[in-house]
Symmetry: C2
Subunit: 227 residues, 2 copies
């Protein structure tokens, strides 16, 4: 028995869900082992914080700038500020690794007639680079960036891009995110939601209620009754 039925499109968050943002740090030889975890966490936390604050204040700038701003804060806070290290990390962020099950899962969904899409804070250029590097171009039907609305998740105008561009109803969308705040936000908007809870985080205490939690994307076709 499937938990989520009647789905016409699967829409994926990018960073954390399809792509391992931590891989930029993991693959950078110039970060001391004992500070890798702190740098990954702080860089990501600041990146998200800056997207929310800029959205609240109507002071949008693109995600590439926000990502560099957050990295500058995180490098200074961890005592790692250095122009060459900064440049290396930003270059690696553009080619973050896809999680191992991503390509096969997207291929299965597409073969079963489900439209596949990304909905991301990332800029079109960042997303194009990551998709090309991971070889996902053939298994993605749509790539939607918040650039089109000039505000970041979880502003409802971002989620509204999906019905507007894909021509589907909210309840026909299975939205998939590893980020709890994004999964709950998408649920509150009216999507069906699979929370890909890779980090085994507690439930968020936010509006919304994801329809299912999975530990990686390979469970998704079964969840949608396509197994």
């Amino acid at each position: 028995m499937s938990a989520i039925e009647g789905i016409r499109a699967c829409v994926f968050d990018a960073y954390g869900t399809l792509f391992d943002f931590g891989s930029a740090v993991t693959r950078c030889p110039d970060v001391p082992d004992d500070r890798r975890a702190a740098l990954v966490t702080l860089w990501r936390d600041k990146q998200l914080q800056y997207t929310w604050l800029r959205s609240l204040q109507n002071l949008y700038t693109d995600f590439e700038t926000v990502t560099a701003d957050a990295l500058d804060f995180a490098l200074e806070a961890t005592g790692l500020a250095d122009p060459r290290r900064r440049a290396a990390l930003l270059a690696l962020y553009r080619i973050v690794s896809a999680y191992p099950e991503v390509k096969a899962t997207l291929g299965t969904l597409k073969a079963k007639g489900i439209a596949t899409a990304i909905l991301s804070n990332g800029t079109p250029a960042m997303l194009a680079a990551a998709i090309a590097h991971a070889g996902l171009g053939d298994v993605l039907d749509h790539v939607l960036s918040v650039e089109a609305v000039g505000v970041f998740k979880t502003d409802p105008r971002v989620y509204q891009l999906v019905p507007a561009r894909l021509g589907v109803q909210r309840k026909e969308v299975c939205f998939v995110s590893s980020n709890g705040w994004d999964a709950y936000g998408a649920s509150a908007f009216g999507f069906r939601v699979a929370w890909c809870n890779r980090a085994r985080q507690p439930a968020e205490r936010l509006p919304g209620a994801p329809d299912a939690a999975i530990s990686d994307l390979s469970a998704l076709p079964g969840l949608l009754g396509l197994g």
Copy 2:
């Protein structure tokens, strides 16, 4: 020489700036020593995250609810979930300790003819309880809560409460916050800003530019040329 001149009102953030939110955990005997720091950090991080996300989605609920929601997440994540511990921590949060220099500093400002105010995410009831517990009622002219606008910092409607209620121009306000994101947000709004950087954090990479950084509030009268 003073760094910030022409000020008619000093407006303070509450939690982190006047009140030590960590004191709720410090004073709770029922939290193991080795998990206190993690609980303080996670509770605070989630509390702020929830204010930003709810504001972005136009799903406001009061700060008392958000604070309890964040605590529930943080207790579960740190393996400390327990109804009695939860109740004790929330009760202690209502009577968080003021930092030692707060009362004297507010008294000095008021004696010099500067209007004193709080602008906080907190509910009027939470703020009244904390102010009464710290004995600050006599040294505060105004207590402004985001409840009046139904959205959290850093939405500009929150900062706009100050000129609207106090009858002052933005540039006549010295806004004081220990939270970098709040200090930068208030600066971007047009206030003069003293960032009370108690935690010695790096500069935020956000719009705005605080006029001064101080390590505690005792430097404030001198900064305003009232020393």
